[in-house]
């Protein structure tokens, strides 16, 4: 089994266009998606969601800016780590994420975690 990091990116503006009910449904579906992964014993780390607009970016010790992420179409909003034998399987797991049922942009980047 290998570990794969899922990096979630969303368009916060697009999410803002969802109704309260739609947002609630998507949150519940996302929760169910993670629980199903855990039920298959494939959840290595349930990770976290990130607070929008809370970031800082350091380009050097002196160049520190507020994170630009909220305004971009692809802002990181969370991560988790799953266990799977192959990246293809990891992709299949990601495909079931409820994000892709909505037409509001966003992406999941899948990266194998190095063991060294």
């Amino acid at each position: 089994m290998k570990d794969f990091l899922f990096i979630f990116r969303v368009d916060y503006a697009g999410m803002g266009r969802l109704s309260a009910e739609e947002l609630q449904n998507v949150a519940a579906a996302a929760k169910g998606w993670i629980e199903n992964i855990a039920a298959q014993n494939k959840l290595a780390d349930k990770g976290n969601r990130l607070i929008p607009g809370s970031g800082k970016v350091l380009r050097s010790k002196d160049i520190i800016t507020d994170g630009p992420y909220v305004e971009t179409k692809e802002a990181i909003n969370g991560y988790l780590i799953i266990k799977s034998a192959t990246i293809e399987e990891a992709v299949d797991i990601a495909k079931n994420n409820p994000l892709f049922k909505l037409n509001i942009g966003g992406s999941i980047e899948i990266r194998e975690v190095s063991t060294i």
């Binding site: 629980e35 039920a39 014993n41 959840l43 349930k46």
Partner: protein
């Protein structure tokens, strides 16, 4: 209780009291001496009582004899006496009388401390349970062997190894320091939980003994609640969990000794008092911020005390299983959660998720899928039940699955 039952019962309760007090007095490195004195006492009891009949107060009789034997032992073992005396030098007066303190208070104190010694992390889990049954519960080697479905030699080996370990690691009989109690308690609770499960889930015909394993686990858990330092939320949660399960003892077995599944149980046989007890301790467990797996399992058991299927019941159970899964994965939790999914959401959703679990070597996996398919696709249900029948190990499990096949 008639004499046939009274004597083994008395031996068990008095044995563990004597062992705990003597171990605390002599030190765990001399646990064998404590065991010898206790065994000698019971041997003498069987002989004397066999001839003269039962004394008026058998427990007091045993205590006195054990005390005398211990005193004699000390008299003839200067080394041990010299070792013990300095330790209690300041607790006057220095006679053997005060050394062997079999007062209720000292018994309770000794047993609690013994519990932490027996459940020391350096001892393997299996050995902890065997040792707990022997020295904390006073079970005989043959009883432990039949509880574990193994032979006396295996249990003896396990016990000897565990006692060696206690000696080598110089484990002392004392409560952990206040800041260690939480961590050490984890192991104690796990052992009590396993002890309970050993009695509850491994069904066999001699189920009276098994039920006693459960009661013993409950007694030990309750003794943790009685002590202020160990009366922590997770302990209350575990006790609540045990109470809820115990409430179904009479309903989960029919007259023929066959297991009765939850759905088919007569809920009028559920013990209301134990359910109320569970509710009380579940409430007690909600103080504090810690949410242990015992809280979650007690919550699930609580919802099972409502027989009627409601959406609220199954949604709560599903969420509790979800939280449990996040805390730690186990195939049984994953399967139970999938069953809750079928009740709370839909059978189709549960089937889709169940098939992803791929626990194809587990008879419970196939039983669950058979159950989910039985009103959807009889052929698939039959396939899974027959797989389950092949994989099941105990006759009881096989019998249950066969009944499901016959009902298709």
């Amino acid at each position: 209780m008639n004499d046939d039952k009274l004597i083994p019962h008395l031996f068990r309760t008095e044995y563990r009291k004597i062992i705990a007090v003597l171990c605390k007095t002599f030190g765990l490195e001399h646990i064998e001496i404590a065991e010898d004195i206790a065994s000698d006492t019971f041997l003498q009891a069987s002989e004397t009582w066999g001839i003269k009949g039962l004394p008026d107060n058998p427990a007091a009789w045993l205590t006195t004899v054990a005390k005398n034997k211990a005193k004699n032992y000390l008299k003839h073992n200067k080394i041990l006496l010299d070792k013990i005396m300095p330790g209690i030098k300041y607790s006057a007066p220095q006679t053997e009388e005060t050394i062997i303190d079999l007062s209720t208070e000292n018994i309770r104190d000794s047993q609690l401390k013994m519990m932490f010694a027996v459940c020391h992390p350096c001892i393997a889990t299996e050995a902890q349970i065997a040792l707990a049954l022997r020295v904390l519960c006073g079970f005989g080697i043959d009883e432990i062997a039949s509880a574990f479905l193994t032979n006396k030699a295996t249990i003896n080996k396990r016990l000897v190894r565990a006692k060696d370990k206690l000696r080598r690691e110089k484990i002392s009989i004392e409560l952990p320091l206040p800041d260690e109690i939480n961590n050490r308690l984890d192991v104690v609770l796990r052992t009590l939980y396993l002890l309970y499960n050993e009695g509850y889930y491994t069904s066999q015909n001699e189920n009276i003994l098994r039920r006693e394993l459960c009661y013993e686990a409950m007694r030990l858990t309750f003794s943790l609640i009685e002590n202020e330092q160990t009366n922590l939320p997770q302990v209350n949660a575990l006790f609540a969990l045990m109470s809820f399960h115990a409430s179904r003892f009479d309903a989960r077995m029919n007259e023929k000794g066959e297991a009765v599944l939850y759905d088919e149980q007569d809920e009028t046989l559920w013990d209301k008092k134990l359910i109320q007890q569970g509710e009380y301790f579940l409430q007690q467990s909600s103080r504090g911020k810690q949410l242990s797996k015992y809280h979650l399992e007690a919550g699930i058991a609580y919802w099972h005390t409502y027989k009627e299927d409601t959406k609220e019941k199954w949604e709560n159970i599903l969420q509790l299983y979800n939280q449990l899964l996040m805390l730690e994965y186990s195939p049984v939790i994953a399967l139970n959660r999938t069953y809750a999914l079928s009740k709370a959401n839909s059978i189709d959703e549960a089937i889709a998720e169940a098939e992803k679990l791929q626990l194809t070597h587990n008879h419970l996996y196939h039983t669950l899928l058979g159950e989910l398919y039985k009103n959807k696709n009889v052929q698939k249900a039959a396939f899974h039940f027959s797989e389950a029948l092949q994989l099941a190990k105990t006759p009881e499990d096989k019998q249950l699955i066969q009944r499901k096949i016959d009902a298709l």
